[in-house]
Amino acid sequence: MTSSAWGLLALFLVLLGVLAWPVGKFLAALCNERVPRWMQRIEATLYKLAGTKPEQSMHWLRYAFALLAFNAIGAIFVYALQRLQAWLPLNPAGMAAVSPDSAFNTAVSFVANTNWQGYAGESTMSYLTQMLGLAVQNFFSAATGIAVAFALVRGFARRGDGKGLVGNFWADITRVTLWVLVPISFVLAVVFAGQGVIQNFDAYKEVSTLETTAFQQPKNGADGQPLKDDKGQPVMEDATTKTQTLAMGPVASQEAIKMLGTNGGGFFNANSAHPYENPTALVNLLQMLAIFLIPAALCFTFGHVVGDMRQGWAVLAAMTVMFVVAVIVITPAEQAGNPLLTPLGVDQMHGALQAGGNMEGKEVRFGIDASSLFAAITTAASCGAVNGMHDSLTPIGGMVPLVLMQLGEVVFGGVGSGLYGMLIFAMLAVFIAGLMIGRTPEYLGKKIEVREMKLISIAILVTPILVLAGTAVAVIAGAGKAGIANPGAHGFSEILYALTSAANNNGSAFAGLSANTPFYNGLLALAMWLGRFAMIVPVLAVAGALAAKTRLPVTSGTLPTHGPLFVSLLIGTVLLVGLLNYVPALALGPIVEHLVLWK
């Protein structure tokens, strides 16, 4: 790694620590239901309107059904909005109704905090759909994840009521949205707008370009349909243009929660590589910090709520170590460049005038360092925003985002989902340690017994099953193979990446796969929905089981879960599960690509 890459990584981690601490402390107050009186008064009005009683703690079953009902209504609303947008206001570009399969995929995607996008935002969605549908779900899906994390943390913290009460879902989602997500997003949006991220309701602008641009486009027949040659390939024709359409829109307001909520769905198709979404180096840094802010803060929240900050530090340390290793792998892989270009005389060395390395698919203004770091951050967290094209990463560089997602999105992970995913692994680590030393496993004074282990096993196995079975279906089915633009190992990587991203609720893509088809829209929606909610349900069940248990005192025989030994055990457990599940699939994709490229 270059010194500038090390410097950027160090700056990022220091700023993250400084910002995450106070946010984590405030989140702990919300988790403990200690809200200042003036906030309570504002909340009381909302609870009265909704007819809910926030002081009534719910059994995990009620909590889960409230969560599922809330998200199902959200999905129906987003679907309806897309299908009706042609007849609704705030549609200056005259966007038509979104196709049913794409609307279904997008509705599930945004509700599940995935934000996989099979469409191009600027040529598909009206401003109303972007704001009232997609941006609103960015808030609610993030709040849902944090609410589940709160429920699990309370499960550890409570002394044992025997009833399995984990909190009130409606109060959790209201407080997190109102007092954390909205205020921070507002500040971020104002800063972004100040830096040049656009925020308007203007019609798209038609501007003259400095040069005439020549390009090829599919030729249409007399019936208006694209012509195809004898081999079934589209017939192309030469064309020129002297104008360009500049898409406008309320971008800054959506950009802020897109990052803060680890949602990742861009206003534009190019996402954070687009200069209207990510115009400056400062915005790029702030976007990266926003992605990790709440996942890191929740580690401190965890420590505060369970009454032992060392526990929070241990989880954060495990996440940080895995993240730093990922950055150390991806950055040199991209800096090494493409060996096939060397014989052609292409200078790929970094220097004062160029970033060097593999610059295909990267913004020149971000270079190797900021693009590689962004790629690691966005896939370590379940964000999925991109400031470069992951399809153009080197094989090893592309494998890093894949692996980070395949570890279960626990390396910081999504807002809430990162913490509850990591705590599930922590309980598994404690269980493994218990097996080794012949003692009943116990984490934070709560015994981990048969029921909990069954639930933990389900939670851990849901996503690998979805990824591997989904990939198998896609590479067998004709409709799945039809979307591959790059046959061979890279095409397999594209499909594996799509299913990995969907089932782990990341949302980024190896963009070479044509996935806006009924087959992929359906398959990926299935993976996103089950990857989100079939994971949340067992986690809530674990929370309920733990909340019912008495918290046992620490004794001399208690396994310490705050030291380097446990951090190592936790990292080992995460890596072991991930590698056992995915190494064969990785061998067919990026590993083969790497061996072919560097043979």
Binding site: W60, L530, A534, P538, K549
Partner: protein, 45 residues
């Protein structure tokens, strides 16, 4: 087509809803004695 995709959403919801009910039964103690599982019965780490 809207009915088909809304039906798919309903089916997905039903799968997860059934999972909640199923895991709640898995979660439920099968006999009163298991309520005492919190007691320090035997070696504890």
């Amino acid at each position: 087509m809207d009915i088909v995709w809304m039906g798919a959403l309903l089916a997905l919801w039903a799968v997860v809803g059934a999972m909640v009910v199923g895991l709640n039964r898995l979660d439920a103690p099968k006999n009163p004695s298991s309520k005492a599982s919190n007691a320090a019965d035997g070696a504890s780490s």
